[in-house]
């Protein structure tokens, strides 16, 4: 029986793990360590409702103060972890304190990747935390033109918000279309059209070579084709890196994140969950997911396994993104290396559903403004329906597209 569990990370995964531990009967001492000063809050609305200004920060708290108190945990917020001694079973904090454990949950998330230059001038933003978002929101209110470096989830969502606020927006990415790695060429092409039709100046296939500044303030971006984009605000949204720096020298296996087995176990008495965890998905192989729902699902399983269950973590993953009035939902695996087929609706109707496959079976399902159908198509992902069989079954009325 564990008597002392430490959870490092106080966002969705860390909070969920703490709650799951209590729900599963863990009655010992529970400590949650977080580097931000805020109590746990939800991140997906940051690049949408909060940035747009429709919601204020009090709307994204993950739990009320009462519910947090019910957990009977010690909260060490604003205190980053700086080291781990898995032999002595201690977490070392940046302020030098040492917190002992006999069970550890690693849920430190990810940190935004930076450009190798340019981050030292005013007007250059990253977006990960609530404080980042409020700074960006303030910046957008006084900006005229915005350059967004990176056309992934975050870049594309912020581009949409900035265009809705009638700013001049340039989105830059070295790949040929927005989110092409996540969605493949065909869908990425549709996303490119979407952003261009809403007035985004899309610059794909070019890299950023420098940020220009004047008097300590950013003035624009130099591109690898020799051109220059003028901007008085720059968002760098080029992905995130699992937050494992504090684990250097701990002996844990750190590849693309904390490497775990199929039970989310990184070492005896240590589990990991959420953006920071790379685990062995039974049947799919090593994966790391930066999706909101994965944080909850994985933290629940990891917590149960820390308490002695032996549950392999084999989710049908899910994510969504909202850009302008388009709602994209994806179950399972989508991507550039997979087959893609629209199975209902059409892009011209602005509503369609599609499947992804790996040459044998269905791996993923995507909907564009047809969220209910995503859930129906999920069955094919969960069952790994043979590709031809799935394609043949759908037009017979299983999936109806109506207004």
């Amino acid at each position: 029986m564990l008597s002392q569990v430490v959870v490092v990370g106080a966002s969705a995964a860390g909070l969920t793990a703490a709650e799951a531990l209590r729900r599963e009967g863990f009655a010992g001492e529970l400590t949650v360590i977080g580097d931000e000063v805020h109590p746990p809050y939800d991140r997906p609305p940051l690049s949408k409702q909060i940035l747009r200004g429709g919601w204020e920060p009090d709307r994204i708290v993950l739990r009320t103060a009462d519910l947090l108190a019910d957990l009977k945990a010690s909260w060490l917020l604003g205190t980053p972890a700086a080291g781990l001694d898995p032999v002595g079973r201690k977490v070392v904090l940046a302020d030098g304190r040492e917190i002992g454990y006999d069970g550890l949950v690693i849920a430190t998330g990810a940190t935004p990747r930076r450009l190798p230059f340019g981050h030292d001038v005013a007007g250059v933003h990253l977006l990960r935390t609530l404080d980042d978002t409020l700074a960006l929101r303030d910046g957008l209110r006084s900006a005229g033109s915005v350059a967004i470096v990176g056309a992934g989830f975050l870049g594309a969502e912020v581009a949409a918000v900035a265009r809705e606020a009638r700013l001049e927006v340039t989105m830059i990415d070295p790949l040929p279309a927005p989110m092409i790695r996540q969605f493949g060429a065909e869908l990425a092409g549709l996303l490119a059209q979407l952003h261009q039709s809403r007035g985004v100046n899309l610059r794909c296939g070019v890299g950023v070579t420098a940020l220009t500044g004047d008097d300590g303030r950013v003035t624009g971006v130099d591109l690898s084709d020799g051109s220059h984009v003028t901007a008085d605000l720059v968002l760098v949204a080029i992905g995130a890196i699992p937050a494992t720096t504090w684990l250097a020298g701990s002996g844990l296996s750190l590849g693309d994140g904390v490497e775990c087995d199929q039970y989310c176990v990184a070492a005896p008495g240590i589990v990991a969950a959420g953006d920071v965890a790379s685990w062995h998905h039974p049947g799919i192989g090593r994966r790391r997911l930066e999706h909101r729902m994965n944080a909850t699902e994985q933290a629940t399983i990891a917590a149960k396994n820390l308490l002695g269950a032996q549950l392999p973590f084999a989710p049908v993953s899910y994510f969504w993104t909202d850009q302008y009035d388009v709602k994209l939902q994806v179950y399972g695996r989508s991507g550039d290396d997979l087959d893609f087929r629209i199975v209902a609706g059409t892009p011209t109707e602005d509503r369609f559903a599609a499947l992804y496959g790996n040459g044998h079976h269905v791996t993923g399902a995507l909907t564009w403004n047809l969220p209910r159908q995503a859930r129906l198509l999920r069955t094919h992902v969960a069952n790994q329906t043979p590709w031809q069989e799935a394609l043949a079954s759908i037009p017979t009325g299983e999936l109806e597209v109506g207004r």
Partner: protein, 64 residues
């Protein structure tokens, strides 16, 4: 038990319908969740709790 659904928060993921089809459904046009049973029968209560736990948009709360 009383289930509360905040449709303004809902992102249409349908997770609630997967875990608790007796209590939740989704609208056809935009996928937003709808509450079928504000006070679920006893055998549907755990499903409703699970729905509240896994909702990726925090749109569901359950008062015991």
């Amino acid at each position: 038990m009383k289930v509360v659904l905040d449709q303004d928060r809902c992102i249409g993921s349908g997770q609630c319908v997967l875990s608790s089809p007796e209590v939740f459904d989704q609208r056809d046009d935009d996928g937003i969740a709808v509450l079928l049973a504000e006070q679920p029968p006893a055998d549907a209560e755990e499903g409703a709790r699970e729905a509240a736990r896994i909702c990726p948009a925090l749109a569901i709360t359950v008062a015991e």
